[in-house]
């Protein structure tokens, strides 16, 4: 049986805001929208591996006059539904790779001067609260990045995260030391797979050794690392389980895996077809299947802070035998899911959750600290495993060996839904304004192949 509901999206060619329908056929959902000038477009949203209705819960439909300012990149709407969880600041447009996919696209401009970056940080920081992600380009191309990190901490940023491809972190251990000593909290490491063929296709060169060295160097200075795979159909969807196992094997330096199903903005190889998309429910299914029992589908809970269709999270403890002990279940979700007036600010709650979990457990930011010195205090049970029912062991061991599996499904011009955007808590700081991530990087699709004003992007 087919049914539909309404929302608002954009024309992928001219980016004009237009009404969009979500067409539900069984458990599959696709977006259909018509631009008067450029024709009809469709995009798959959900492929029916998980119940759309149960996952999404009750969300108030978008009104026609909602999310206008966010979509126009002129700052957050006055009635935007989420405070800022993470503020992203681009400190450079330069990069040392030329990736097939990149949300930031091309930029050859000179770096903003240090004093300018400091002024931005001063402006965006709420002392004791701000979670700042330094991004780019590749931020580690800046020699003064440690100074930027130190300044952010002086201003009162609660967490300072580095978004990096890992090249400099692998090659320059002294730079890693300087970042750690400056107060860097943790690293978001681009990590698309466990074999070089994936990097050759996505990053135009082998990178596996680089990633390994980057993780090792971060571990040396107590910097927690979250692996961030961009998941692209036909390239690395079969490595989801391997990436998880790799991350677990590098615990506690690796704090978790943050999957990003590919989205099409910035630099993209071509207009996406139906088969170029990897939906959130496909990712959920593949994690359960490929992890071989390590992670069950029910361990993954919809995002509470952002819209449930924007991502999920799961929290575990890595046991000495490499198994995972789940701490959260979908059934125990969620304080705020579907609620328009949650008791506690979900952005603050989310920020504290990920900040705590992505920080290195007990790692000291000084050279010469041995692994043994960072080992948690623990009691063991009869099976020789940590006795997690002992409260002190649970806290100490869990702090060190915590492991998160999270995901963020960004939106592009093909599948953007303003209902999701009005709840976005990941904000890019630009010229004194905060802009939802997917609005900031929204990129029109190339208009070639538009035939007589009618273009079916991805209908099968």
């Amino acid at each position: 049986m087919m049914r539909k509901d309404m929302t608002y999206s954009v024309c992928p060619i001219c980016l004009k805001r237009i009404p969009a329908e979500r067409i539900h056929e069984g458990q599959k959902v696709q977006m259909v929208k018509i631009c008067q000038e450029h024709g009809m477009f469709t995009a798959p949203l959900w492929r029916g591996n998980v119940s759309w209705g149960i996952w999404k819960g009750r969300i108030e439909p978008l009104r026609e006059d909602e999310c206008l300012q966010c979509g126009a990149c002129t700052g957050l709407c006055p009635d935007h539904r989420r405070a800022t969880c993470c503020t992203l600041l681009e400190v450079t447009g330069r990069c040392n790779r030329n990736c097939t996919f990149c949300f930031a696209g091309e930029c050859e401009e000179a770096d903003p001067p240090l004093e300018q970056v400091k002024a931005w940080i001063r402006d965006l920081t709420v002392p004791g609260e701000t979670f700042l992600q330094l991004s780019g380009g590749e931020p580690t191309l800046r020699e003064d990045l440690p100074e930027i990190v130190a300044f952010a901490r002086e201003c009162g940023c609660r967490y300072v995260q580095l978004n990096s491809n890992g090249v400099r972190l692998a090659e320059d251990v002294d730079y890693v030391r300087r970042l750690a000593e400056a107060g860097l909290s943790f690293v978001f490491l681009q990590f698309d797979g466990v074999s070089d063929d994936v990097y050759v296709r996505l990053r135009r060169g082998p990178m596996m050794q680089i990633k390994e060295r980057a993780i090792e160097n971060c571990g040396r200075y107590g910097l927690g690392v979250t692996l961030v795979p961009v998941v692209v159909p036909g390239v690395n969807t079969d490595q989801i389980g391997d990436i998880l196992r790799y991350g677990i094997s590098r615990s506690p330096v690796v704090r978790g895996v943050h999957f990003q199903p590919v989205s099409y903005f910035g630099r993209m190889p071509r207009m996406p077809r139906d088969e170029d998309r990897f939906t959130l429910d496909e990712l959920i299914k593949e994690i359960a299947v490929q992890s071989g029992g390590l992670i069950a589908e029910e361990n993954l809970a919809p995002s509470c802070c952002d819209h449930p269709m924007c991502g999920f999270h799961a929290d575990f403890v890595v046991m000495p035998d490499g198994s995972l002990r789940p701490l959260t279940k979908r059934s125990t979700a969620c304080c705020c899911h579907g609620s328009s007036l949650p008791e506690e600010d979900p952005a603050r709650k989310n920020r504290e959750f990920i900040g705590r979990r992505w920080s290195s457990g007990g790692g000291k930011k000084a050279e010469g600290v041995t692994a043994a010195e960072n080992e948690p205090v623990m009691k063991t049970g009869e099976d020789g495993m940590p006795d997690l029912s002992d409260m002190d062991t649970f806290l100490s061991y869990g702090r060190t060996y915590g492991f998160t599996v999270t995901s963020m499904a960004f939106q592009d011009a093909g599948n953007l839904d303003f209902e999701r955007m009005r709840q976005c808590s990941l904000h890019v700081y630009r010229d004194g304004k905060k802009i939802p991530f997917c609005a900031n990087y929204l990129t029109p699709f190339p208009a070639e192949n538009v035939n007589g004003g009618f273009r079916i992007m991805s209908m099968k």
């Binding site: 809970a301 509470c304 802070c305 999270h313 929290d315 701490l327 959260t328 279940k329 125990t332 979700a333 969620c334 304080c335 709650k349 989310n350 504290e352 959750f353 990920i354 705590r356 029912s389 002992d390 409260m391 002190d392 649970f394 806290l395 869990g398």
Partner: protein
């Protein structure tokens, strides 16, 4: 309730049960939170079994356990 720190109780204060007026004794105590079971040493009345949870434990470790188990 009278509270005096007694070194022989491993740093736990001497607390009397207000119902039974007996000195509470340290005992391994089991509790549950969101389907997870835990145990830790708390003062317990030897007669009625009532336990005393000091404020620093409630606001400290127990709050941290809750934070770890609650959904984000």
């Amino acid at each position: 309730m009278q509270e005096q720190y007694q070194p022989e109780l491993g740093g736990l204060p001497e607390i009397r049960c207000r119902r039974c007026d007996l000195v509470m004794e340290p005992a391994e105590t089991y509790f549950e939170y969101l389907d997870h079971g835990f145990h830790t040493k708390l003062l317990r009345c030897p007669k009625c079994g009532e336990v005393y949870i000091p404020e620093d434990l409630a606001r400290g470790k127990m709050a941290e356990v809750e934070q770890n188990l609650e959904d984000k």
